[in-house]
């Protein structure tokens, strides 16, 4: 069982992130995944979020309570949701958009300039896909195959290739970050 929160500001495709992840897990990774989102005026403009509860069995309680994974793509969302993140949880941020406080407890933090990467690929609108690729690589909650399979229908058809490219871009960066992290760890332990 895992609880995931994607957060950012309206227009970044935060709800999409939840939808793609939930769809990938429940249709292609053989898990149960319930996605909910914040609605109404509070979902427009300012801090916005979508949540996915993942489980091997049927999800009963549909909302997240103390998430293991928090993805933040804006400072406001980070400030709002960071305090609820579980100790030993995973925090994923957009380096350029979030200035994190010192890490508390045993929280693992992973950072990516997802918006900058998206701009390099030609459109900042796909920053969420870069982030999703990164998220997939570092959390291993969902398989990258399932995530990509979930895209048709959830991203505009004519931009499907671009979205996949963005995903791969984020995913590769995630793998790299993991490798560096393991290397660091091994070096540390050698001391």
């Amino acid at each position: 069982m895992a609880e995931i929160r994607f957060s950012g500001f309206g227009g970044q495709g935060i709800i999409r992130c939840g939808l793609i992840t939930g769809k990938a897990l429940s249709l292609y990774d053989n898990k149960h995944a319930t996605m909910t989102q914040s609605f109404g005026p509070e979902a427009r403009g300012s801090a916005c979020s979508s949540q996915v509860v993942v489980s091997a069995d049927r999800v009963l309680y549909p909302y997240i309570t103390t998430p293991e994974i928090l993805v933040s793509m804006s400072q406001e969302a980070y400030d709002k949701y960071e305090p609820e993140l579980r100790d030993k949880g995973i925090l994923i941020i957009d380096t350029d958009l979030v200035k994190p406080k010192p890490i508390r407890g045993k929280i693992q933090m992973y950072a990516i300039p997802s918006t900058r990467f998206a701009e390099q690929l030609g459109n900042r609108i796909i920053a969420n896909l870069v982030m999703l690729g990164f998220f997939t690589a570092v959390t291993k909650i969902a398989s990258p195959e399932a995530m990509k399979k979930a895209l048709p229908g959830l991203v505009p058809g004519r931009f499907l290739d671009l979205n996949i490219k963005a995903f791969d871009n984020g995913y590769d960066y995630g793998e790299e970050v993991l490798k560096t992290a393991t290397k660091k760890k091994t070096t540390k332990s050698k001391k």
């Binding site: 939808l19 249709l27 319930t34 996605m35 609605f39 509070e42 009963l60 309680y61 549909p62 909302y63």
Partner: protein
């Protein structure tokens, strides 16, 4: 009752990741609904949006009416025009529909209304959940009548029970409500839509006798009259006034005494056939938690915790809320210590449980005013109290 296989044109066979609102639209299309009239209202609008998007390639009509008064009345017209028809709404719109829900009951018109409940009264909590319209569904229009109300607990059930709602509405010629809520309506989960040939759809009970012998409200052996549609040459009349079997108004106590019990009895006499319950570990239970819709999912967490603590807890989930499962609850009341009824309101269905328990078993309510689902601990605490 004539059952046929669903028309494949409306059936989106496959596994999908849908929210409850979308699943309701898909359920309607699979059941053969080809007319949708509605008015946008949070948190139900996505059903209308989905239907508007899908219907042009299925073959049918979507129309956004000027208000909910018009929506429900257009459904009644469309049903008499021969179509299976549905709408979706939430609290304030449901209130506006009430008068013509009465007309649908009086004219014995099959149709389906989904209510994605939000917190009320008045504008209340437009974007947040509630289960506060349960009594309104039963009693909201004036006069005596019975309706059928189902309560799905997931997007999958939104799909399944919307088909069931259409089938029941055709069998009993009555409006059927799919009483879901914002949480289920906006929650995305996997929804499996089977192939059309695996979906059973009840056809309208069409009259097939000689034209000049047709009487719109002459009862068949099962107590449900046959139906015809406008344009088929029967030159029939029907009215919201109390009427005889010709459909002619007869405004007196005698005709009223014949008509009114019939409208209710056709539902209550068939309650056993209509009611769908889901029971778990009820045989040796001391406490039975009765719930419906999203609350039944949330309460299972509390039940699991209580069972871990060694308590004997059964669960009874009302997939059908109206007609109410009186018989079953009366039986259980003789055997168990108490019922615990969590619901997202200040006390509605619990009143029916209390009535049926009739003092033979305790009845404990776990209220929630809406805006969110229960904290399972709140339910657990009441279970503990009930067990004392």
């Amino acid at each position: 009752m004539k059952k046929v296989k669903a028309d494949p044109k409306g059936v989106l066979t496959g596994s999908h990741y849908l929210d409850g609102d979308y699943a309701i639209a898909e359920g309607g299309l699979a059941a053969g609904c080809r007319f949708f009239a509605g008015y946008p209202i949070t948190p139900s609008t996505e059903t209308a949006e989905r239907f508007a998007e899908r219907i042009p390639s299925v073959g049918g009509v979507f129309i956004q009416m000027e208000d909910e008064l018009a929506s429900i009345t257009a459904l009644i017209g469309a049903a008499w025009g021969g179509k299976k028809s549905m709408t979706v709404t939430s609290g304030p719109g449901f209130s506006l529909m009430m008068e013509n829900i009465g007309l649908a009951c009086m004219m014995e018109t099959p149709l389906v209304i989904a209510n994605v409940q939000r917190g009320g009264p008045s504008t209340g909590l437009p974007t947040l959940t509630g289960q506060q319209d349960m009594m309104q569904a039963k009693w909201g229009s004036h006069g005596d009548y019975e309706i059928i109300a189902l309560s799905p607990d997931s997007p999958q059930e939104c799909f399944d029970l919307t088909i069931e709602a259409f089938n029941l509405s055709e069998i009993y010629r009555v409006p059927v409500f799919v009483m879901t809520d914002e949480c289920v309506g906006h929650m995305h989960e996997k929804v499996v839509i089977p192939p059309a040939e695996e979906i059973e759809v009840v056809e309208r009970k069409w009259y097939e006798g000689p034209k000049d012998k047709y009487l719109p409200y002459k009862l068949d052996k099962d107590g449900i009259p046959f139906m015809v549609k406008a344009g088929d040459g029967y030159r029939f009349h029907t009215t919201g006034l109390t009427h005889d079997e010709r459909g002619y108004p007869v405004i007196n106590a005698e005709c009223q005494a014949e008509t009114i019990p019939r409208l209710s009895d056709k539902i209550t006499d068939n309650a056993d056939k209509i009611i769908m319950l889901e029971e778990d570990q009820i045989d040796n239970a001391e406490i039975v938690v009765i719930s419906y819709g999203i609350t039944s999912r949330v309460s299972i967490r509390a039940v699991q915790l209580a069972r871990k603590a060694g308590m004997k807890i059964g669960t009874l989930r009302l997939k059908t809320v109206w007609p109410f499962p009186e018989k079953r609850i009366k039986q259980l009341a003789k055997k168990i210590k108490a019922f615990v009824v969590p619901e997202i309101n200040y006390g509605q269905v619990v009143l029916e449980v209390e009535r049926c328990a009739a003092g033979k078993a305790g009845t404990y309510h776990v209220p929630h005013m809406g805006g969110w689902v229960h904290d399972p601990n709140d339910i657990l605490n009441v279970i503990k109290e009930a067990a004392k």
